[in-house]
């Protein structure tokens, strides 16, 4: 396991020298957002789609990842001839504020009064919110000269950002597609995040969050966090279908180091692999920061507990998609959003896609989902006069 993250990679980015004042009151002296774009912005600047990534995603939506060498995380959805057709749309995706793929976050050099010009923010990075992430993205969209986004699309935490976009900047969002999302993070989801965070804290290599000083990163803790989280992204049925109770003879010693444990189950081997590959591309403090931002998310709370008030008079066209076997962001959460949108009189489409793939379904090959997304965007093009 080589857990060092290559920070030498240069990501396409923009730096805003005026920084960003966060919801917590802290002012970040400067703000850097790393981003990627695909397709061409038309002359009227009316064909831009902002894609918001999930907790551990990044800006490399539809191209080989410079660090892992793997295909983009949403190549099934974004690309030429795909539901988000890059021959038609100009697609933008930025690494979220707090992330570790080039945007300002715990792994950036601390540049406030307490910084010495070389030390990193680490655990001193101020707490951020989904609202802060979205205000940072708005700066990027303004910088690109786009007054109104044709659509904002995202799954999971990306869907939270979509909802926040629609609430904060209704005139800048023609269509909104929150996928497998919720208007607040549930107690169960906060609980799972807490398990992950405690695993990181318990790793002696975490060193109170100042692990960059020793060069040893809390790889074991972060891997356990990822393993626990990964289970919540799948479903019991999908795990049974993929692994069942199958075992891999001969791998036990290498895996656990305890011969009396016997052969390793395939599902264990899979999770260990997920954990060990994750730590090569993700920063533990970023994981802590972003999971906390998700936990804080409660859109209705900003509107006296009335979610409908967040969308009052909205002209945005919404399309909510949930997946039948998703127990992390279950259909009931999307339905509650749809009902709030109805109360607000907004234009809303809502469908639950039948699948056994759990929360991760939004990243996978789901033809019904892809048809739905493509059709919704086509309908919106007609209404926007974008033909």
């Amino acid at each position: 396991m080589d857990p060092t993250i290559d920070i030498a990679i240069e990501h396409t980015h923009v730096r805003f020298a005026d920084g960003l004042t966060l919801e917590c009151g802290t002012h970040l002296p400067s703000l850097t957002l790393a981003y990627r774009t695909y397709g061409r912005l038309n002359e009227a600047r009316s064909n831009a789609i902002l894609v918001c990534h999930a907790l551990t995603g990044d800006q490399y939506v539809a191209e080989r990842h410079p660090l892992t060498g793997k295909p983009g995380w949403w190549e099934l959805v974004v690309g030429p001839g795909r539901p988000i057709d890059t021959e038609r749309f100009f697609v933008i995706c930025s690494n979220v504020l707090g992330g570790c793929m080039g945007s300002t976050g715990p792994r950036s050099v601390r540049d406030d009064a307490a910084g010495d010009g070389s030390a990193l923010w680490g655990i001193d990075f101020p707490p951020i919110t989904i609202g802060d992430m979205v205000r940072a993205q708005k700066k990027l969209v303004d910088y690109l000269g786009i007054r109104r986004l044709f659509a904002v699309v995202g799954g999971s935490m990306g869907g939270m950002q979509v909802l926040q976009w629609a609430a904060s900047y209704p005139d800048a969002v023609f269509a909104a597609v929150p996928i497998a999302a919720a208007a607040h993070h549930s107690a169960q989801n906060i609980a799972f995040h807490e398990v992950g965070r405690q695993a990181i804290f318990a790793d002696p290599d975490w060193q109170g969050g100042r692990y960059w000083q020793s060069g040893r990163v809390p790889a074991r803790g972060l891997a356990v966090a990822r393993m626990a989280a990964h289970i919540t992204y799948l479903s019991e049925k999908a795990l049974t279908r993929k692994f069942g109770r199958r075992q891999r003879p001969g791998e036990a010693a290498a895996g656990s180091g305890f011969p009396f444990f016997g052969d390793i189950f395939e599902v264990e081997s899979y999770l260990r692999h997920q954990g060990s590959t994750f730590v090569k591309r993700f920063d533990a403090n970023s994981y802590l920061t972003i999971t906390r931002a998700m936990d804080y998310f409660d859109l209705a709370a900003d509107y006296n507990g009335d979610l409908a008030a967040a969308f009052r008079h909205s002209q945005t066209r919404f399309c909510l998609v949930s997946f039948s076997s998703d127990w992390l962001f279950p259909t009931a959460e999307s339905r509650a959003i749809a009902q709030a949108l109805n109360r607000a009189g907004a234009n809303v489409s809502f469908v639950e896609i039948k699948t056994d793939k759990g929360h991760d379904a939004f990243l996978l090959d789901e033809p019904d989902f892809h048809r739905t997304l493509a059709g919704f965007l086509a309908g919106c093009r007609e209404h926007a006069g974008l033909l």
Binding site: R343, S349, D368, R371, T372, G375, G379, C380
Partner: protein
């Protein structure tokens, strides 16, 4: 080119649209806000948008139909007439449409009340259980009738609240709804010539179609 495609789409819709949907569309003013409950694949809302410039939306309980509708670019949400109408604000629509669905909902009277709360007008079509074939089959055979419209045996029909045209008039009176228009039609959509007589319409009309507003 887009207008050509649009025109083709309209022709396609018009040719394939159920006749009661065409009759419903005739009752709806251009440019109005419409909610179609039980919209299926969205044929009516597509027609109303393309030919009448309506802001038409739909609710459908069958998830496969919802997927098909959204994939065709139509604003349709999965929902249940018995549950989800409560979430719309008063007067959100000019027309709320319920075609061939009233007999299948759990609480038809409440659904009607909700329709006229969230919409200025309600358009309702339903298969007429008073049609002579239905009456004859029950009388002659003593068995639950099976006709072109009532085509499922009693143990698996979703139609748990069948009513006749006269029954419907009676409910409108009891609940104080004003019948602005009504007609009876046969299955092929020819308007029945008995529209002046409720009694004849109730015998010869295969489906009833009503335009209501609150008193």
């Amino acid at each position: 080119m887009s207008t050509v495609r649009q025109r083709e789409a309209i022709r396609y819709v018009a040719k394939n649209m159920r006749v009661d949907l065409r009759l419903i569309a005739e009752m709806i003013a251009p440019g109005s806000r419409v909610l179609d409950i039980g919209c299926g694949d969205g044929t009516l809302i597509s027609y109303l948008f393309h030919t009448k410039g309506c802001d038409a939306r739909g609710i459908e309980i069958d998830m496969a139909e919802v997927t098909r509708a959204i994939a065709h670019g139509l604003p349709v949400m999965h929902g249940d007439a018995d549950v989800d109408l409560a979430y719309y604000p008063d007067g959100a629509f000019d027309y709320v449409v319920l075609s061939r669905t009233l007999q299948a909902v759990g609480r038809p009277r409440e659904v009607l009340r909700q329709m006229l709360r969230i919409g200025a007008r309600a358009v309702i079509s339903f298969p007429n259980f008073g049609h002579w074939q239905v009456r004859w089959q029950l009388l002659a055979h003593g068995k639950m009738p099976l006709t072109a419209i009532w085509d499922r045996p009693w143990y698996e029909t979703p139609n748990i609240h069948p009513c006749t045209i006269r029954d419907f008039f009676e409910l409108c009176e009891t609940d104080g709804y004003i019948v602005e228009q009504w007609l009876a039609a046969d299955e092929t959509g020819r308007r029945a010539p008995w529209r002046r007589s409720r009694w004849l319409a109730n015998i010869f009309g295969q489906q009833g179609l009503f335009l209501l507003r609150s008193a």
